[in-house]
């Protein structure tokens, strides 16, 4: 196997990891603020169809990404209204979001199935793209791959070192105490939910505009749920999200190559199961031990005392 081939395969792992990375990083911030949004899959789908439709209509990649982020955030705003204002159950509201978004995206995308779209442009960084190995791996990609990778250190810095990040974590650990210290708990959580929604929307747009540049109903195929599992796998730490996303990207690419090359004498469906089985395995292996790492107020509603 030549070095070029290895690099090419690794580059596909990076692209397979990107939608997970975007969605999981967003959800990580949401969960650190104390809110559990199970609607990631739905927000990704709506982002995918909004980005795709906008790219078709305008031909502009930046407008498409803006539309995807706004669509994801719009759905997230609906979720925020339910759980932060009306104090609805977070688990059920997240499920509702996904059920609604599956229907909405299928309806909005009904006329778009089978239409080709221009792939997101590759952004070559002069000098860096020509680097051996790392060049083609990391620097010959499109804007969303860069954004996904920049978001990790940015979120790590935000949560670990910034004042606003400390406020957000306080809301996630003990909302009542944070409120008593004068933190606007609901506003902080609402902003976190909107951020998570736009990241999920961008993750979906990566699928419909770059990974497989077409639209098809329910094309996220469970990636939103895998992103939720990634946050648990990462023990709510940004750096580990990167590790987990590459792991799942690797599994996804492995099964694709195994299918196309006919490496294993099993039906294709069994290979397609691998990402889902890997998710279960990961949850079984790490979830229990790292439960203490979860934000203490995760999933609890907060009604400001009068």
């Amino acid at each position: 196997m030549s070095l070029e081939l290895v690099v090419a395969v690794l580059a596909t792992v990076v692209t397979a990891a990107t939608p997970l990375l975007l969605a999981a990083t967003g959800e990580l911030v949401v969960e650190r603020s104390g809110v559990l949004n199970l609607g990631v899959e739905g927000m990704m789908l709506v982002g995918a169809v909004a980005g795709f439709a906008t790219a078709l209509a305008t031909g502009s990649a930046s407008l498409a990404l803006l539309a995807a982020a706004l669509a994801g955030a719009g759905l997230a705003a609906l979720f925020a209204l339910l759980v932060l204002v009306l104090l609805a159950d977070q688990v059920v509201s997240g499920l509702a979001l996904t059920i609604f978004a599956v229907g909405l995206s299928s309806l909005a995308g009904a006329g778009l199935v089978g239409t080709p779209v221009e792939r997101l442009p590759r952004l070559d960084l002069p000098g860096l793209t020509d680097l051996p190995l790392l060049g083609p791996l990391l620097f010959g990609q499109d804007a969303l791959v860069y954004l996904a990778h920049l978001a990790i250190p940015a979120v790590a810095w935000f949560l670990g070192a910034s004042r606003a990040g400390r406020v957000l974590r306080a809301c996630g650990e003990n909302a009542e105490a944070a409120h008593a210290m004068g933190c606007p708990v609901r506003r902080v959580r609402a902003l976190a939910v909107l951020f998570g929604g736009s990241m999920a929307g961008l993750g979906g747009a990566f699928l419909s505009l770059s990974y497989t540049p077409f639209w098809i109903e329910e094309m996220t195929a469970g990636r939103g749920w895998i992103a939720l599992a990634l946050v648990v796998f990462a023990a709510w730490r940004p750096g580990r999200v990167l590790l987990g996303a590459y792991l799942f990207g690797g599994v996804a690419i492995l099964q694709l190559h195994a299918q196309s090359l006919g490496l294993l004498p099993v039906p294709a469906q069994f290979l397609s199961m691998l990402p889902y089985l890997a998710t279960i395995l990961v949850l079984a292996l790490v979830a229990g031990g790292w439960q203490t790492a979860a934000p203490a107020a995760l999933g609890r509603p907060f009604l400001p005392p009068r």
């Binding site: 199970l38 609906l78 209204l81 339910l82 009306l86 104090l87 609805a88 159950d89 688990v91 059920v92 509201s93 499920l95 509702a96 979001l97 059920i99 609604f100 978004a101 599956v102 229907g103 909405l104 299928s106 309806l107 009904a110 109903e217 195929a221 469970g222 749920w225 939720l228 599992a229 648990v232 039906p267 294709a268 469906q269 069994f270 397609s272 199961m273 889902y276 089985l277 998710t279 279960i280 949850l283 079984a284 292996l285 979830a287 229990g288 031990g289 439960q291 009604l303 009068r306």
Partner: protein, 357 residues
């Protein structure tokens, strides 16, 4: 000037009943707006969605045929949802129920001995329960989220079904269509010219049984307390582990039952897509029925009407099938939103200075 929520000392009994009705009304209203946006004449669309399906014997019987699996699955899910056990992979348990039960029928084919059908149904129930046992064990032993595990297993089950009907179980005389042989035995038809099968009667019977069990025994209390105050439940001596396992196994068994009833009833064989997402939609049915056995029955009828209406509206008003899913999501949204009226009083916000004497 805004509004604020004031917790009620006790949930409002009136709103408990009114909230689901309000949610259904708001969903219908949103439907009107949606139809206007899609350029369909609202009255015609609403008619074909909600009334036309019921104007024939076939339509009315199909309503029951579609409501039955929804009610069965929702009845299984409701105790878990009360106790905070979130099985959202009922679609997978349904699929495995159909696969295991269908597998028994295919293995015994072409026997039509009287015990074959009961054996298949039993196998379907056990299959569904076994599939739900996986998230139960992983939750209890490993602390893994049953939400994510049960959902991932739904994807796995769907792929397994696909592998079987495209592969070893494909009908050898079926012109290469991805489906199994027609089963030699199936559920009897209750009324000529319909697809009504005995499973339709099973749902109300089980609902009655569940109501008697949950309302009259300590079990119902244990479930509610575990869901609302886990610490108090432990103090009261309710075993959390047993409740998690019991809820998941029950949900799996009923979803598996629904699956094998669909396979041996309306479908009569295994096909790549067994249901239009009954396992997921049953979550909405459970909540629309306020997690109450007797509430779930009318809720299943309402949601089944949305399925049926979606089909009619597709044919008569040219609406895309996806409208059904959109309506179901909207319905759950409005349910969650109107739930606030049960637990809180909404009143104009008072100025905080005024609170200080």
């Amino acid at each position: 000037m805004g509004f604020e929520l004031e917790p009620r000392p006790l949930p409002s009994g009136l709103w408990r009943v009114l909230a689901p009705a309000l949610a259904v009304a708001l969903t219908a209203l949103s439907g009107l707006v949606l139809f206007l946006l899609l350029g369909v004449e609202p009255s015609r669309a609403l008619w074909s969605f909600f009334v036309a399906p019921l104007t024939s014997l076939w339509g009315a019987s199909e309503l029951l045929v579609k409501a039955a699996p929804l009610a069965l699955i929702a009845l299984g899910l409701a105790p878990g949802f009360r106790a905070g056990v979130w099985n959202i992979g009922a679609e997978g348990q349904l699929t495995i129920g159909a696969i295991v039960g269908g597998g028994v029928l295919l293995a015994l084919w072409p026997s039509d001995a009287p015990w074959v059908l009961p054996a298949a149904i039993l196998a379907g129930i056990l299959g569904g329960a076994a599939w739900a046992w996986i998230p139960a064990v992983l939750r209890i032993r490993r602390g893994a989220s049953e939400i994510l595990v049960s959902l991932m297993l739904a994807y796995v089950a769907q792929l397994l079904l696909s592998a079987l009907v495209y592969g070893p179980w494909r009908d050898p005389e079926g012109f290469n269509f991805p489906q199994t042989r027609l089963f030699q035995v199936g559920l009897p038809i209750l009324a000529e010219g319909t697809r009504l099968h005995p499973g339709v009667l099973l749902a109300p019977l089980l609902a009655l049984l569940a109501w008697l069990l949950l309302g009259r025994t300590l079990l119902g209390l244990a479930l509610s307390v575990t869901g609302r105050a886990p610490a108090a439940a432990t103090h009261a001596g309710f075993d959390r582990t047993r409740i998690v396992r019991g809820c998941l196994l029950l949900a799996g068994a009923l979803a598996g039952l629904a699956g094998i009833l669909e396979a041996t009833g309306p479908i009569g064989q295994l096909v790549p897509t067994l249901t239009p997402g009954y396992g997921f939609t049953a979550i909405i049915v459970a909540f629309l029925g306020r997690l109450h056995p007797l509430g779930i029955l009318p809720a299943a009828l309402v949601v089944a009407l949305a399925y049926l209406g979606g089909e009619t509206a597709q044919i008569e008003a040219g609406l895309p099938q996806a409208v059904t899913g959109l309506f179901q999501g909207l319905l759950l949204f409005f349910l969650l939103a109107s739930e606030v009226l049960v637990r809180y009083r909404i009143r104009p916000r008072r100025r905080s200075e005024a609170m200080v004497p």
